[in-house]
């Protein structure tokens, strides 16, 4: 759920600033590719991370250009970015490594490896808390801790800082920000860039943390699920954590019970696989009610018609 959380937070920054982003998927994919490539070539996961962020940022820039500067349709731009990433990664990858778009497997320092938190071993035998601490909390890669730390940080930035105030304002009513003498364009670009960085981390984590290299289309729809989680969370950081956790849980359940035997009927694996999607629809229909997006979301800020 870490990449999901990161992508969800990425979407949160962008959409809170009024720029819809269905290109999360593409940006993650691009980041996964650049991260894996650079990590393979340099043997450094950190350089890979930087490259992942750069790759994702490049696409963010395209999105910004289309939806902020040229006041284009944000949904189309997102669709195009998804296609672009899906094609470019394989094209360049094939050209560079000749493995049909895969990157060679990463080893050692080319990957982010789990870190054991201090005292994890010592506390292992403490009842209840021990296993949770040593098994669940300790032993994750650094990027996981980063992702989780980003939740309170995002909350704090959004609700406690000047930048957050302006960011939220620009997503609600850009004219109010403009007439307050603050540049709408700059704010939105910043937000889109932050989204790029977070997608970059997410993609890098996919390729260099969770797996050991890039495989074509390896994001496998996670960007779209992150988007669903974002709507589910009503564009709020803590709820985003909760939503991604829920999706993670649903998937874990589907993994644990590939064929759910209900006595009378056995739910086939296909449906258990589709369970997270089905439940998303159910949740959207039943529990969240109308999720009201940032008011200026999806609309370019046009001053002069």
């Amino acid at each position: 759920m870490t990449p999901l959380l990161l992508a969800c937070l990425a979407g949160l920054y962008s959409e809170r600033a009024g720029v819809f982003d269905i290109g999360l998927e593409g940006k993650m994919l691009m980041a996964a590719f650049t991260a894996a490539s650079v990590a393979y070539i340099t043997g450094s996961a950190w350089l890979g991370l930087a490259a992942g962020i750069a790759g994702s940022l490049a696409l963010s820039l395209v999105h910004g250009l289309a939806s902020i500067t040229f006041m284009g349709n944000q949904l189309i731009s997102g669709v195009a970015i998804n296609f672009l990433a899906s094609g470019l990664t394989v094209l360049v990858g094939q050209n560079a490594f000749g493995l049909g778009g895969r990157t060679p497997a990463l080893t050692g320092a080319g990957r982010f490896n789990p870190i054991t938190l201090p005292g994890a071993e010592a506390l292992r035998d403490v009842p209840v808390l021990g296993p949770i601490y040593s098994g669940l909390i300790s032993g994750q890669t650094i990027l996981v801790y980063v992702a989780f730390a980003l939740v309170p940080i995002t909350w704090w930035v959004l609700y406690r800082t000047r930048f957050g105030l302006r960011l939220r304002a620009v997503g609600e009513n850009p004219a109010s920000v403009d007439t307050a003498g603050v540049s709408v364009t700059r704010l939105r670009y910043t937000a889109v860039a932050i989204a790029g960085v977070l997608c970059g981390i997410a993609g890098a984590y996919l390729a260099t943390g969770l797996s050991a290299g890039f495989v074509k289309e390896m994001t496998a729809g996670r960007g779209f699920i992150a988007l669903a989680a974002l709507i589910f969370a009503k564009w709020r950081p803590w709820q985003a954590l909760f939503a991604t956790f829920l999706f993670g849980l649903l998937e874990a359940i589907a993994n644990l019970y590939p064929n759910l035997d209900l006595g009378i009927i056995t739910v086939p694996s296909m449906f258990m696989n589709a369970l997270p999607y089905i439940l998303t629809v159910v949740i959207l229909a039943g529990f969240v009610g109308r999720a009201i997006p940032p008011r200026a979301g999806g609309e370019p800020y046009v001053k002069e018609r």
Binding site: R162, A169, T179, R305
Partner: protein, 547 residues
């Protein structure tokens, strides 16, 4: 070329430079020349009025001054020094504050957050917020501008939202305050209160520019007034040396009749009977609390009231489309037959078939599809009508012919029915809506804000049409926030406040002062002087549109 100062005569001779001076400002939006070579000087410590038809370019000019738009040509001087106002930040720093015609507030932020937006001190919010809270308290006391700093803006009445906008400007220590049509949304008492504040600010030495369509306000409060027409500044005069008639003529370019010319009504059988109408909206707020109304054929019932007191809900329910999720109870009869208030049969299409026409309050959001051509808009809402249809298909030729004829009769300009609605000026857009609804000859015509933001010339025409329909024996329900309009058109006036009818008066037997009190929810109106506001102390605490 003469400068604007010259036109004003007297004052510009004094040594002190104008607080603000514009020289040769031009601005085009695509093919529309919104401002053409405009010059204007506003002496320090004065209130300067700007009037002009819709689309004359008033808002554009002020927005340029505030750095919202960049002019194509021209120069701006503040305190005699030329400055280049590239964005609103520069304008704010130069001491200019502006309250826009359409407020620039973040609806789901608190008052305090809106106040500090853009002028926070430092990267963290907490210190800015507590500082602003203090300053706000002081400003509120000083200018009698009370608002709850922690209230979310969308819960405030329009009047209070405007206070927030003014406080925003004052918080930024503006010396030059621009107000773009500030009174359009206020009760007479609120407007009075605003004017007292403005006078106070002027006496402190601040400079104020006031845009309005209401000549009465210009005469009442301004020192000088400038008139704009079709993007040009046609005159700048001392207010004391002009008259409303002269200003109207300058604005429109011809003589305008300022009063409606109508015969006494000859009411016949009742057309609409409303009994005990209540409405609770989706959030559980009671918007209508037992409305009783009668309208007879051949009369105009005017409903006065500050917007947000249930008029919109009343029009929507009568028009057949109560707000989603709302609960409506009570009884509505039309020509004796009960109209359904919910479920099937309660839709706008059915109401039209039942003989209800409707000129909605907001022409751009409801009355027209802005991207549709004028001819398509002429069928809007009546697209089911047999004469517009040929079997499965719509008879577009018939609609176009009809549209062309209506545009002819209502003098819609330009007379091109293929033009998209958004390419017509506000007044002409409204004429399209009025033509469409009136020409269907409905038994009952619902009219919401027929002339909001419409200039004097068009108002005159629209008023004539409404009276003509009445004289043809139709029933008309007129909702307007303009008391002058209500008094001029109505045969009877009902005042709405907080979802109730506070009382009914005959126009000849009441005054704006009395109606103003009723609009504020005060029914004890025995000792009110003519045309006066309410006693000072109470003005601040006017209840919001809804409690």
């Amino acid at each position: 070329m003469t400068t604007a100062g010259d036109m004003l005569g007297g004052r510009s001779d004094t040594a002190a430079p104008a607080a603000i001076e514009l020289r040769g400002i031009s601005k085009a939006f695509g093919a529309v020349q919104a401002n053409r070579d405009i010059s204007l000087a506003v002496p320090k410590g004065t209130i300067h009025g700007i009037i002009g038809e819709n689309g004359a370019g008033k808002s554009t000019l002020m927005s340029i001054l505030y750095g919202f738009y960049k002019p194509d040509a021209g120069q701006i001087l503040v305190g005699g020094k030329p400055i280049s106002i590239s964005d609103s930040q520069t304008a704010i720093r130069a001491g200019i504050g502006m309250v826009f015609q359409h407020f620039k507030l973040v609806q789901n932020f608190t008052v305090l957050e809106n106040i500090i937006l853009g002028v926070e001190d430092g990267a963290l919010l907490r210190p800015s917020l507590s500082k602003a809270r203090g300053v706000l308290k002081r400003l509120a006391a000083e200018y009698q501008l009370n608002v709850d700093p922690d209230e979310v803006v969308e819960n405030l009445s329009v009047g209070h939202q405007q206070r927030v906008e003014i406080l925003k400007a004052l918080y930024r220590q503006a010396d030059i305050l621009i107000l773009d049509e500030p009174t359009g949304v206020l009760t007479p008492a609120e407007a009075d209160h605003l004017f007292r504040i403005l006078k106070g600010l002027r006496d402190e030495g601040k400079t104020i520019i006031l845009i309005t369509h209401k000549l009465r306000e210009i005469m009442e409060i301004t020192d000088n007034v400038s008139v704009m027409r079709r993007g040009e500044m046609v005159a700048s005069v001392r207010t004391a040396q002009t008259s409303p008639e002269q200003l109207a003529e300058l604005m429109v370019g011809r003589k305008v009749l300022l009063n409606v010319d109508k015969q006494p009504a000859r009411p016949q059988a009742p057309v609409l009977e409303v009994r005990g109408l209540t409405m609770v909206d989706a959030e559980g707020v009671e918007r209508l609390r037992g409305i009783d109304l009668d309208i007879r054929a051949g009369e105009i019932l005017g409903i006065a009231g500050v917007s947000g007191n249930g008029q919109t809900q009343l029009l929507e329910i009568l028009g057949g489309y109560p707000e989603k999720g709302a609960k409506v109870t009570g009884e509505v009869r039309m020509n004796g037959a009960a109209l359904p208030l919910a479920g099937s049969g309660c839709d706008a299409g059915q109401r039209r078939r039942d003989g209800v026409g409707h000129i909605p309050e907001d022409r751009q959001v409801e009355g027209l599809i802005m991207d549709f051509a004028a001819w398509e808009n002429v069928a809007f809402g009546w697209h089911d009508a047999p004469e517009f249809n040929k079997g499965w298909l719509m008879d577009n030729d018939a609609i176009r012919r009809d549209a062309q004829a209506k545009m002819e009769r209502f003098d819609v300009r330009p007379r091109d029915c293929h033009l998209a609605a958004r390419n017509f000026s506000g007044g002409n857009q409204q004429k399209i809506v009025v033509a469409r609804e009136i020409e269907r000859n409905p038994d009952l015509l619902l009219i919401g804000q027929p002339t909001r933001g419409v200039d004097i010339g068009a108002i005159e025409f629209i008023h004539k049409q409404i009276v003509a329909l009445r004289d043809a024996g139709k029933a008309i329900l007129l909702v307007s926030v303009e008391l002058d309009e209500i008094l001029a058109l109505s045969d009877r006036v009902a005042v709405m406040f907080d979802g109730r009818i506070m009382g009914e008066r005959l126009p000849a037997q009441t005054t704006t002062g009395e109606l103003g009190l009723l609009m504020a929810g005060i029914t004890d109106t025995r000792n009110v002087p003519d045309d006066a506001g309410i006693p000072p102390g109470t003005a601040n605490d006017l209840p919001e549109g809804r409690a």
